[in-house]
Symmetry: C2
DNA sequence: TATGTTGTTTATCGATCGATAATAATTCGA
DNA sequence: TCGAATTATTATCGATCGATAAACAACATA
């Protein structure tokens, strides 16, 4: 304001915290936007406003639209950022490495899996996109079922000297047993990052105990299922009326 | 209807689908709004717009604000509608009825619990309010922990002739074992209503198998925990860096 | 130092949101 | 049957949303 030059005015944008205009290479700025958008949407959901996102980035709102044509494009990019390449193929090898006891394999797997997946961003983005009805979630759960749960049940059968899946295919009930284990583990993350409820400090110890309980409990059920105890095989049919209330 | 009264004219608001203006007693209309709002918010989340809600109700948007001063007040009311009085005190008696085998008690409990809780509205409203950071969720999880999980672990101890919680308090690790069971069960609802993924038709059978697996697996872990196997008691500390990737 | 390229901001549009005030229509008791 | 009381609608406000266009400023190169 003193010397009347435009440049000075626009740069020293008052004595506020605003760190003045910073010009970045295209790749760098794009990465910055995606990273901040991930944090932002994980926190407030995908209805979060581009103006608030821009404020957190320290840039103006229209700049975002110079990098992503629409907000939906940015969201799509966030999906990729979160889900992409967090899958470790080694996990699958680990699960079927029979040189190790099954309990040890499952413990190691879930420790590695939760280390990779149990983050604020991953869990909340996953749930938000699930509520939104995005297809990514179904694809991911199918991945878990086919690459993890089926492997787990195959290994449980092997350790119990039960028929292989080639001889007798895995039943839905067996897969559901594995979902019980997996869901119980994932629910720790839901408690922590969706409900903000207390979770154990020593997650690894809890995983060990959970796995041990599974390995000691599931085989008995499987033997019953496979060795033809039909008395408990009830007719299908879901009764979900609220008659209890 | 055939006598040409004014009522007839205004009611038959053209031959459109619009069911004409209907004047209702205050209580009735209020109940109708709350019920439809519950379905609506469960579907689209709390950012759902009052205009769309009004359209579904077949009334004008300002009418909603004649019954609820603000949208937030309506949401608060929806919370009450969903959570209130879905808790059945009989569940707690059931869990500690030692005239029944523990497996049978747990099966019956989870069948009754899921019958009352596993609804589209309940599950989605619960997750939406959790993401929003509402306190209700933490209160509810504390209820589950204190009235259900602690009871379950008390009964497991009793069946194994282990010390009562009065003699040796329940450890966090034991509670976590019960969370594993409970989370595994609730994850079925998450798969179905949050991710829209396949779930078993015969939920009751799955609950029986899951409970059986728990009752056969958990006691072994508990005996180890209680009988002083300290070798596996690792130092606390959560390692959640993504070093695996 | 001059100039073209490109990252960034300013200004603003049209649509949509929750909410309010004024008006109309329905119901029911005297 | 008439009019007060209550329910519902019409019209609209101010704020906020995603998105666009034009102007500006930083940097690389010559």
């Amino acid at each position: 304001m003193a010397d009347g030059r435009k440049t000075v005015q626009t740069r020293a944008k008052s004595d506020n915290d605003a760190p003045a205009r910073k010009r970045l290479p295209r790749n760098e700025r794009e990465q910055m936007i995606v990273r901040e958008a991930t944090r932002f949407f994980a926190e407030v959901g995908f209805e979060g406003q581009t103006r608030e996102l821009a404020r957190r980035l320290g840039v103006t709102q229209p700049l975002i639209f110079r990098y992503f044509p629409t907000k939906e494009d940015l969201i799509e990019r966030v999906y990729q950022e979160v889900y992409l390449s967090r899958w470790n193929p080694w996990w699958e090898e680990l699960l079927e490495d029979r040189s190790m006891p099954l309990t040890e394999r499952l413990s190691q797997f879930y420790k590695a899996y939760t280390t990779a997946i149990f983050t604020y961003e991953w869990v909340r983005i996953f749930v938000y996109s699930g509520l939104k009805g995005v297809n990514i979630n179904r694809r991911y759960l199918a991945l878990i079922r086919d690459r993890v749960l089926k492997r787990i049940m195959t290994e449980v059968r092997a350790e119990q000297n039960l028929p292989t899946p080639e001889e007798i295919p895995l039943s839905e009930r067996e897969i559901e047993l594995a979902w019980g284990l997996h869901g119980g583990v994932f629910y720790i993350a839901i408690r922590k990052w969706i409900y903000e409820f207390e979770t154990p400090e020593d997650i690894e110890g809890v995983l060990e105990a959970t796995v041990e309980s599974f390995v000691k409990g599931a085989p008995a059920v499987m033997r019953r299922l496979l060795e033809g105890d039909q008395t408990k095989a009830k007719a299908p049919g879901l009764s979900l009326d609220n008659s209890t209330i």
